[in-house]
């Protein structure tokens, strides 16, 4: 045992990577494994290049090319045509609304189960359910909401029995901005709960006590301690939820193939049948989606790194 420990210590020098390169190698096997090392990471790199970097790079190139392959900015300019601009605007609004409301409700629910004094089993049940519901998206989610708030849905029918028809002109419609937003919240809220729960657990009881000792009210505690500590996490998760909704398509497509003029559905139609009649414009549409999602995710990653220092 002792000898193995010594070997481990000597080989696991302060900087493992450079150690192998600079130090005279006490063990032959390290030198012999160089080829094996490369082979170990080769499949990953090959996959990354063939199925992530090249396809996306190809779309980027095409977004800036005319049909003949010459450089152009026309495709990007084409994104501001009314139909495409409207699609981006609706997508952004739905993503922002479902993200913001999902974050708010998710935060309140996480606070309720962690700091609201509810029985522990409820907290556990909510966390387990969140794991399932955050993955319950796409086609089946659309079916569930059709059965609930569609024209023949449970709530619609029940309210009708009470004399309230929600499907009147100007009333409720599942195939509308608010309908899709409410549906998306079904996976946004659980995702928020899952991500924010560790941050709320990280808020120590002592902070409450310290604030109370200094004479702070509950409201003042949240105003000056709670929200400022959670703020980076909230902002970060918000951008993650935004990107999550922005790329989603299956739910909206299953609710109605055509009712929603959102970017992913427009892109879906473009891939299927070149509805825009312009290959370059299609690529530009995809690049536009990447840029918006990337921006949202960069905010998330940057903010999360900053937030982590509070959660020791």
């Amino acid at each position: 045992m002792a000898s193995v420990g010594n070997i481990a210590d000597s080989a696991a020098g302060p900087v493992p990577g450079s150690a192998a390169a600079t130090r005279p190698n006490p063990f032959g096997w390290l030198a012999g494994l160089k080829l094996g090392d490369m082979l170990a990471v080769l499949p990953f790199m090959l996959f990354a290049i063939l199925f992530l970097v090249l396809p996306l790079g190809y779309l980027f190139v095409q977004a800036f090319q005319t049909q003949d392959g010459a450089f152009t900015l026309d495709n990007i300019a084409g994104l501001f045509e009314p139909k495409i601009r409207d699609a981006f605007w609706l997508s952004i609004r739905i993503s922002a609304a479902s993200g913001a409301l999902g974050a708010l409700v998710g935060l309140l629910m996480a606070l309720a189960i962690i700091r609201g004094g509810l029985p522990e089993w409820i907290g556990n049940a909510v966390m387990t359910f969140s794991g399932v519901a955050s993955n319950f998206a796409g086609i089946p989610l659309a079916f569930a909401f059709l059965a609930t708030l569609g024209r023949l849905g449970l709530i619609t029918v029940a309210l009708k029995a009470l004399g309230i028809n929600i499907y009147v002109r100007g009333g409720w419609d599942l195939l509308s901005f608010w309908g899709l937003t409410l549906t998306y919240m079904y996976f946004q809220i659980p995702l928020m709960i899952l991500i924010i729960a560790p941050a709320i657990h990280g808020m120590k009881r002592e902070w409450n006590e310290a604030a109370a000792t200094l004479g702070a009210s509950n409201g003042q505690f949240w105003r000056y301690v709670g929200i400022p500590v959670l703020w980076p996490n909230l902002l970060g998760t918000l951008s993650l939820l935004f990107a999550n909704a922005f790329g989603a398509i299956a739910t909206a497509y299953a609710l109605s193939n055509t009712a929603f003029n959102i970017v992913p559905i427009l892109l879906f139609a473009q891939i299927r049948g070149d509805v825009l009649g312009d290959r370059g414009l299609g690529a530009a549409l995809a690049v536009g989606m990447i840029v918006i999602c990337a921006l949202a995710n960069v905010i998330y990653l940057v903010v999360r790194t900053r937030a982590e220092r509070w959660l020791k």
């Binding site: 493992p16 990471v41 790199m45 063939l50 629910m109 059965a147």
Partner: protein
């Protein structure tokens, strides 16, 4: 503290009704296929449908291939990065984050443009080629979860010592990974596998655009043509997702609790 508790109960009640009502409504709807009374006919119809069996079997097969290919790609790379090349970590982690940043529909759009019938590598020309493309697309979708699961598993074992011990006893590098490292992180690997399966089984966008008859595409077809069967499919999907998550929670009990080094 009394007032405190009341608001928590109110929030919980609102949340619970938002989450449970659609499930109850879907269950009720799925039982109402006959005018007289509740029956399980919608479920029997689904299970008896040969297209359900075909598409579900195919989705399962693609899902398993996805897990195997994903492991072949991720395990050696994560092991190597942890053992000898921490300087590669930022690159690898960035790559594993890409599928979260890039929407699935954009990814498949890139595949279709790059691997269409007139390209250098025309994968979409044959059924096998398209199925391969679908599998790799799913590997990409699962990559963030698979990598994180494997990396977490590697963090809980002493990779360095295990590797040296095995090497001294004459194991080559393939043997080290397959016979020493892999069995030690099997719990973490299985969690990643079940999460990947949960994501892949009902996937619609990518498969639909690659014209692959998978479970997600079948569900969409049924949704467009039937009234009660979609509700039954929705409940079946929910139970499947629950099963996958339950397996992950169950496996979590067997995960080693020690964390010798990070």
């Amino acid at each position: 503290m009394k007032r405190n508790k009341t608001w928590a109960w109110i929030v919980f009640a609102i949340g619970a009704s938002y989450f449970l009502l659609p499930l109850l409504a879907t269950i009720k709807f799925s039982l109402e296929i006959r005018k007289a009374g509740w029956t399980l006919d919608a479920y029997t119809n689904v299970f008896a449908d040969p297209r359900f069996q075909q598409t579900f079997g195919y989705s399962l097969l693609v899902g398993l291939c996805t897990v195997v290919v994903g492991l072949l790609i991720v395990v050696p790379a994560a092991y190597y990065v942890r053992l000898r090349a921490p300087q590669l970590r930022p690159i690898i982690e960035f790559v594993t984050l890409l599928p979260l940043i890039v929407p699935a529909i954009v990814l498949v759009f890139g595949y279709i443009r790059l691997y269409n019938s007139s390209s250098l590598l025309p994968l979409t020309n044959s059924n096998l080629g398209t199925a391969t493309l679908l599998t790799f697309a799913y590997v990409a979708l699962g990559l963030p979860y698979m990598y994180r699961a494997v990396d977490t598993g590697l963090r809980t074992i002493d990779v360095q010592t295990l590797t040296e011990a095995a090497t001294i006893m004459g194991a080559n590098q393939v043997q080290v990974i397959t016979q020493v490292i892999f069995p030690n992180i099997i719990v973490a690997v299985l969690s990643g596998a079940f999460l990947t399966l949960a994501i892949v089984i009902g996937e619609f966008t990518i498969a639909s655009l690659l014209n692959q008859q998978v479970f997600g595409v079948y569900m969409q077809n049924v949704g467009a043509n039937r009234a009660y069967e979609p509700a039954a499919l929705s409940i079946i999907s929910f139970i499947l997702t629950w099963g996958a998550m339950g397996m992950i929670a169950f496996l979590g009990r067997f995960a080693p609790k020690t964390a010798p080094r990070t």
